[in-house]
């Protein structure tokens, strides 16, 4: 089921763009005109049952005055995979218990769409003046595909990259928890030279059903991934966040079997795994909004390097080793696997090395 959008708000300074009006027409909504501060105030004063849920149904259109293209912020002390992100949209229609975006609620609770995304293309061109290749995605502060039927992010970015003749230098990942793939399949057909990756975030069904409200069920996501593979789109799988608590490991093993026996593994470009990690502030948000969350069940401790709480290293080692063993079966012992936001000592302990095509 597609996420519900019930309000289109346009920053009056940027009302000359067509996109928000086209979307409003598609959705049968009358656009409103408001500055961001006014919208924040209005939403805070009328939060409905839950401010987060109310705000997630609002699309706010404005321009981005800062940079679009940024290096993935990673975290101090972790092994970095040199991924770049484009934040052309911030905010997501899904309401995942572990989402860091919950922290931005006071300043930016709704889904913000930046209308000057052409600037992101200029930044890619600039980046490629000094770098040979770019591995980039739009899924850091948003779901890349959940609203693609409205925003056409896939069409915009891939067509621009193709137009500039940069398809062999830019690998573009669309990371999602949705099954909104129709547009991407069309784009694949239209731009056969483009290097497109569809990344699916996955988790065990019992976790997904409770802690990722609104997102597509795991089976549906994998069905979508299979269809994309058949249309020629490369697939990435992200096991993140891995919830490392007693009783979950068998569920993850089943999930791994399900995913990699469904997909053509020779066309899986990369796989990441990342244990759940979070800031102390997020603990309080989870406690308040998801008091029964399994995220609070593990033994997690702060790290001196980045102040994030992580599972005890022995638990992480054990989970990662089982993941590696189970996934390796489908890749002749050499899966395109890496760890996300994990420290170098853990890479040593599980005998993993940064390898191509990610590093």
């Amino acid at each position: 089921m597609r996420p519900q959008i019930n309000k289109i708000v346009i920053d009056p300074d940027y009302s000359n763009h067509r996109l928000p009006f086209e979307i409003a027409e598609k959705l049968g909504l009358k656009p409103e005109f408001m500055k961001k501060d006014e919208l924040v105030k209005r939403v805070s004063e009328n939060p409905g049952d839950d401010l987060f849920k109310t705000a997630k149904k609002i699309l706010f259109f404005t321009e981005n005055k800062g940079k679009f293209l940024k290096k993935c912020p990673g975290s101090k002390g972790v092994v970095c995979c040199n991924y770049y992100t484009i934040n052309s949209v911030t905010g997501c229609p899904y309401d995942c218990s572990y989402c860091i975006l919950q922290h931005y609620i006071e300043n930016n609770p709704f889904i913000t769409v930046f209308l000057n995304r052409e600037k992101a293309i200029d930044e890619i061109v600039e980046f490629l003046k000094t770098n040979q290749k770019l591995r980039v995605g739009t899924g850091e502060l948003a779901d890349s595909l959940a609203l693609d039927h409205l925003l056409d992010e896939t069409g915009f970015f891939i067509s621009e990259i193709d137009k500039l003749g940069l398809t062999d230098r830019v690998q573009f990942e669309f990371k999602t928890k949705s099954v909104e793939i129709e547009r991407l399949i069309e784009i694949r057909k239209k731009y056969p030279r483009a290097d497109i990756v569809a990344g699916f975030s996955v988790n065990i069904p019992k976790f997904q059903q409770i802690e990722e409200p609104g997102a597509a069920p795991i089976e549906e996501r994998i069905k979508a991934a299979v269809r994309l593979q058949k249309s020629g789109v490369k697939i990435a799988i992200h096991f993140d966040p891995v919830v490392m608590i007693s009783g979950n490991i068998q569920e993850y093993q089943k999930l791994i079997d399900f995913i990699f026996s469904s997909l053509d593994c020779s066309e899986v470009i990369w796989i990441s795994m990342g244990g759940f990690r979070h800031t102390l502030a997020l603990t309080e948000t989870i406690l308040k909004r998801f008091p029964q969350s399994s995220l609070l069940m593990g033994e997690m401790f702060p790290s001196d390097s980045d102040n994030k709480l992580r599972y005890l290293s022995s638990v992480r080692r054990s989970f990662y080793n089982i993941f590696i063993e189970q996934i390796s079966k489908y890749f002749n012992g050499n899966p395109p696997l890496y760890m996300c936001m994990e420290k170098s000592f853990m890479w040593d302990d599980v005998k993993m090395k940064p390898q191509s095509p990610v590093f």
């Binding site: 608590i245 309080e284 948000t285 406690l287 308040k288 008091p291 029964q292 969350s293 399994s294 609070l296 069940m297 033994e299 401790f301 702060p302 790290s303 001196d304 992580r310 005890l312 290293s313 022995s314 638990v315 080692r317 420290k343 000592f345 040593d348 302990d349």
Partner: protein
């Protein structure tokens, strides 16, 4: 968010907090931890707060007239912490044993990474005079097996 604000609708938790604050001398920070541990154990083990307090024999601590109210709060919090973090508590206890044994054998100190977040440990010796140097060379080999054991333990 104020954690006390968040318990206002949880009658059973209010009872547990009252029990603790009336029978021990507990400061605000410790009370916050008390609430957090109770809630997280409750979610994980599906045990009512009352049964969690029974499990750690909180009443025995409260009824012990030989310790101060402050010590009572510290004892209960420690037991609750051990129940909340069983793996880490066990590992921490092993680390303490290894440190003590190393100190007794060699006079040196083992320093494990905080919360076992790493795969190495450090050892240190204090040198004040020439004889201390000779002593290190005499005794360090006695710590050989223990260092191997420590390395194994940290990677388990």
């Amino acid at each position: 968010m104020d954690i006390f604000e968040s318990i206002k609708n949880d009658a059973d938790l209010i009872v547990a907090v009252k029990y603790m604050s009336e029978n021990t001398d507990i400061n605000n920070n410790s009370l916050k931890n008390f609430i957090r541990y109770l809630r997280e154990i409750n979610v994980r083990e599906k045990l009512p707060y009352r049964e969690i307090l029974q499990k750690i024999a909180a009443s025995e601590v409260i009824e012990n007239n030989e310790i101060t109210k402050k010590t009572k709060s510290e004892e209960i919090l420690k037991k609750l912490y051990n129940l909340r973090y069983p793996l880490w508590s066990a590992k921490q206890a092993e680390f303490i044993k290894l440190k003590n044994r190393f100190r007794a054998l060699t006079g040196g100190e083992i320093e494990f990474p905080e919360f076992a977040e790493g795969n190495s440990f450090k050892i240190s010796f204090t040198i004040k005079k020439d004889e201390d140097i000779e002593k290190i060379f005499e005794t360090i080999s006695k710590g050989h097996d223990l260092m191997k054991e420590s390395l194994k333990k940290i990677k388990e």
